[in-house]
Assembly symmetry: C3
Homo-oligomer: 155 residues x 3
């Protein structure tokens, strides 16, 4: 019975971590600063080259400056999760698809990125305590009349 409980707990941890990462990425798209903050431990370390390395306040600050107070539309989608749980700690590698559209410049950027995360189980549930991005492909472009023959509309 004790072994069954250990096995169930590991499956629940993985389920909670998937939900946590999903909540974080959706909150980024929704520009929900409180929801983003709530996904991290207070001592979280965030390393997003070439943007920089941040503590949690720093991440919220950068996000506020680049996204939450601007008309850009971001799309963060997480894939290929390799989650490993060990008690109250866990780690994962993710493959992120990201796109951002800027109506002011009519430009877009597409990224494919590996994410290397570490998680900690707290009294409030699992939280991200470390996350480092490893950019792999960056495509910059413009959506303009006569160019890509594409327009864009934020819904």
């Amino acid at each position: 019975m004790s072994d069954l409980e250990t096995r169930i707990a590991r499956l629940e941890a993985e389920s909670d971590i998937r939900r946590l990462k999903a909540r974080y990425l959706n909150a980024c798209d929704a520009k929900d600063l409180d929801a983003i903050r709530a996904c991290f431990t207070e001592d979280a370390v965030i390393d997003f080259p070439p943007l920089g390395a941040f503590d949690l306040d720093g991440l919220i600050g950068i996000f506020t400056q680049m996204a939450a107070t601007t008309p850009i539309t971001d799309v963060h989608q997480g894939h290929n999760a390799e989650i490993e749980v060990a008690g109250d700690d866990a780690s994962a590698r993710w493959n992120l698809g990201y796109a951002t559209y800027d109506p002011r410049a009519g430009s877009f950027r597409l990224l494919a990125t590996f994410y290397h995360d570490r998680y900690r189980r707290t009294v409030g549930g699992w939280r991200i305590c470390y996350t480092r991005s490893e950019p792999r492909a960056i495509v910059d472009g413009a959506l303009a009349e006569g160019g890509v023959k594409a327009g864009w509309v934020t819904a």
Copy 2:
């Protein structure tokens, strides 16, 4: 023991709901009308702005008209599932990546959308009883000679 069974049942429900949503999205891509219909409860409410709001027959009708009897290729891919299970009911927010290619016009549309779903456990398994899309980014374009310098081929 009873508590372990409750915990296992919740994990199974989440697994079944992921499989259900995957089956639905893949069936849309495969233009499999019977498989699409089988993912919903008979009283399902479908709200897909700006397309409209539908009952199940209405959804199948629109899909038949736009996709199942035309040469378009659709790609529906579901991400960032935040699934919450409560007994025989469940809800989820998803982040959908969608692309559609129309060979008749040489055009394409890319969408990033939030989906807000509700599910019900029936005697036949979990089914979608409510789904509402919230479009966030829409990119329209043309794939044409001399323009995007891209062609397309449906396999």
Copy 3:
């Protein structure tokens, strides 16, 4: 108790198969040949039209030739998994998003593909014993000055 263990084992199998597929796709992006090989049974059958059908050595050979010794950047992201487990065997249908960028030609290719997989539980864990791709949408393009008004940079 025995029934609970069977139910837990099925959930663990699905979790392991998701992790296996993620590891495989991420290893393809990372061009990690050893990690790719380790995802398969020795007798695996790989069928990737229009590229061809391969045994495991053949897959590693093709991958070495096309990706591991070239400057291309690949992005493999797996979605919409419909996983069915039956004891020590399993199957799944996936919806794959794939992009490849070739700096030598300034070109890219985007694919949406169904994957039909079979898995076997070995002493070393779950492995892919059969995988067949079914291409559905192929978009070829060029990223060039004056064309798509987009450049690309591998990070």
